[in-house]
């Protein structure tokens, strides 16, 4: 079997080179661990530490950007390929909808009494996930430019617009605002932020019937458009990568950006000292005089698959619990995320996310049908921002697109 040998050689090489964390005693006696999740450094740290537990009969991790497409089919089989999926509050619903993850109450009662309650994600009274890190979008500003125009960091979007106007009229920057407004997921996310900031609610209470074609919806679109007028004309193609690049090039003075991306904006790489030394963060802004900020809170956490043996579930639970224990924090891992782990000391760069939490920002909606609305938003808002149609028309297009999709998925009739 020559062919097999060659193919095996590839997998062997791959396995041998994987970095391993220090082996740890997690009280596991047999059982399988197989992780599926996104691939950013914080999740890699968690996975590496969970895999380091002794006593696991099998410890694997598949961390990839395509995890959302793979995790569902990978957990639907019996036994499931993956014993745990690392998800966020937007992506956990796809797993709950298909009923592939198990309630963790029994496991917590038996082995997880020491997990702080605030880390537990409860749905309808049952713990479905354990969160370990937080994220939010908030204000990032250039201290030197604000000083030059004599303005304080804006606390509201109205102040942001005023500051942008001053910066432009004084000829400092032509396009002073930035933002991940790329049509699709990013733009929809900005709508969700702003709509919640306006105090809007997406659905008729207790149902999956969408209702956004209202004053809050129109005001949201108008505000997005007003902001976009101070952005680079290409804003509809700027995702968070492109927006960050604009920032580092020193072309932008104010933007609403993910807390997890601010660290690299402040380091010495990619920009000139004048830019990175003056980059500062503040909490998310409010809009239209409302109390809650126009932003959403996000968490990342782990779940345990339903279609696996109780032995595997217990081993997975223990290993993942070790993966997010205070023991994993060290100089290298400390800065990788806003950890919700005891012993975590935040750096100045994390101030934005922390004030988002303390200001009572709304969490991103964890609803079974919200993914469909997010997609519909992303597909339609660009028409309005380009001036092709009225706000009402755009909102009714969104509602119609959502309703058609929700009908197909059985959420509305």
């Amino acid at each position: 079997m020559k062919l097999k040998n060659i193919l095996m050689a590839g997998s062997f090489l791959a396995a041998a080179g994987a970095t391993t964390a220090m082996a740890a005693d997690c009280g596991i006696d047999g059982g399988r661990l197989s992780i599926i999740g996104n691939e950013f450094p914080a999740i890699q740290t968690v996975a590496r530490n969970a895999q380091a537990c002794e006593g696991l009969s099998d410890a694997e991790a598949n961390l990839t950007a395509d995890h959302q497409t793979i995790n569902l089919p990978g957990m639907q089989g019996n036994p499931a390929e993956y014993t745990t999926a690392i998800v966020a509050n937007s992506s956990i619903v796809a797993l709950i909808n298909e009923d592939v993850i198990r309630p963790l109450d029994d496991l917590i009662a038996a082995h997880g009494q020491d997990i702080p309650t605030q880390q537990l994600i409860t749905i309808n009274g049952q713990v479905m996930a354990v969160a370990f890190m937080a994220n939010a979008q908030h204000l990032v500003y250039r201290a030197d430019i604000l000083e030059q125009i004599g303005a304080e960091p804006p606390k509201t979007y109205e102040e942001m617009l005023a500051a942008a106007e001053t910066i432009r009229s004084e000829g400092i920057l032509e396009y002073p605002l930035g933002g991940a407004y790329a049509a699709g997921w990013n733009l929809a996310q900005e709508f969700v932020n702003m709509y919640l900031g306006h105090g809007g609610s997406f659905y008729e209470p207790g149902t999956a019937q969408v209702s956004i074609n209202n004053e809050a919806g129109v005001a949201t679109l108008e505000m997005l458009k007003a902001l976009s007028e101070y952005m680079n004309p290409d804003f509809l193609t700027h995702d968070s990568n492109a927006t960050s690049a604009e920032w580092e090039a020193g072309n932008v003075a104010l933007m609403n950006m993910w807390g997890s991306r601010t660290g690299v904006l402040m380091d010495a790489e990619g920009s000139e000292p004048q830019v990175y030394e003056n980059t500062a963060v503040a909490g998310p802004m409010t809009v239209a005089g409302a109390g809650t900020p126009a932003s959403t809170l996000w968490w990342d956490g782990w779940t345990v698959a339903k279609n696996i043996s109780d032995e595997d579930a217990e081993a997975t639970f223990k290993a993942m619990k070790h993966g997010i224990s205070p023991a994993i924090l060290n100089d290298e891992t400390m800065g990788q995320a806003v950890w919700m782990i005891e012993g975590y000391t935040p750096a100045p760069v994390n101030e934005g996310v922390f004030s988002a939490i303390s200001m009572g920002t709304t969490p991103y909606p964890m609803l079974p049908h919200h993914g469909l609305l997010h997609t519909a938003l992303g597909d339609n808002i660009a028409d309005f921002l380009q001036g092709d149609e009225s706000a009402e028309q755009t909102l009714s297009d969104i509602e119609a697109a959502y309703t058609a999709a929700a009908r197909e998925k059985g959420f509305v009739n």
Binding site: Q68, T69, L72, S90, S91, V93, A94, N97, D99, Q118, Q119, L120, I121, T122, I123, N124, G125, A131, A134, A182, A183, G184, P205, G206, A208, P233, D234, L236, T237, H238, D239, W299, M340, I357, T361, T362, P363, P365, M366, L367, P368, H369, G371, L372, H374, T375, D379, A382, Q386, A400, A401, T403, A404, A405, R407, E408, K409, G410, F411, N413
Partner: protein, 340 residues
Amino acid sequence: MKHNAFFWFVLPSATAMMLFIFFPIVSVVIQSFHVAHEQVIIEVENCGPFGCTTATAIDQEATAALREEQPLGRFAGLEIYKDRNHLAVNEFAQTWQQSEGIGDFVVRLMNLPFYKALGFTLTYVAVVTPLTILFGFIIAVAVNSAARSLRGPLIFFTLLPNIVTPLIGGLILFWMVDARGVIGTALRYLADDPSLSVKADTGLMWIMLMVYGVWSSAPFAFIVYYAGLQTVSTDTLEAARIDGASRWQQIRHVVIPHLLPLTTFIALIQLMDNFRVFEPIISFNAQAHATSLSWAIYNDLSGETQQLSSAAATSVLTVIGVAILLSPVLVRTYRSYGKA
């Protein structure tokens, strides 16, 4: 060839296609006729690190029973095909009645996602296919006229647009055409318009996508034509020349007829590939300006909640579209089959 021998010869190929293309297609078609079960929605309280909220969730127990009974979901017939996100039968009729004149109708129709995608897809096919064939031919003639020792490197460089993965090729070109990138700056200079930005304008974005399309698929047409040019019979050309045919007449009456079957082949493959245009829209973040049918499928599958039935319906419509598009070529091939 005897039936028996034919069977054994095509068996490996047929098995592979059966397993990995035919069966999935059958399941896609079936999927497109089904919608998910009615989800029983209940109001629940969700708690997490940021406090508790009242929300909705699916009542799993109530839904599980329904799923058990009909694992595929509810049979819906053509409902998905007819809904707003696909053929939009009702909205189409409504638009037809309400609009003033054909221009207005087209503008309103473009507000429906399927027709918007179809509009770009068809324009793309109509522009890119002939241009690819034309450029491929011209390049093939040019390379064929170069010194023999140069042809190897020339072939390599011609293939480059095809070799560099679109993922990165697109990213680099995306930066190059940025208003501040090297091509963008050149365009501004040439057009003498300091506010020109390819990425901000729908028309320019379409043009750029099509230029990219021609650029990246011209090498394919080139290779096939180049192969064809090697086999043009020198005797026939010689004879034509002796008969006093001009250079143009030689090309017109000898070379082009010789290359005609190749053109059919390229057209067939290019029509199909262009109808499935997808990668450039992603690489250029162009979805605000242009969408295609394949993009719509990708969009359905890549959301937080996958819309399998919707993607299945669009896929079936894509296959039907390709079949319609190819039918003239196929009928021609059918007639000539067995003669060649």
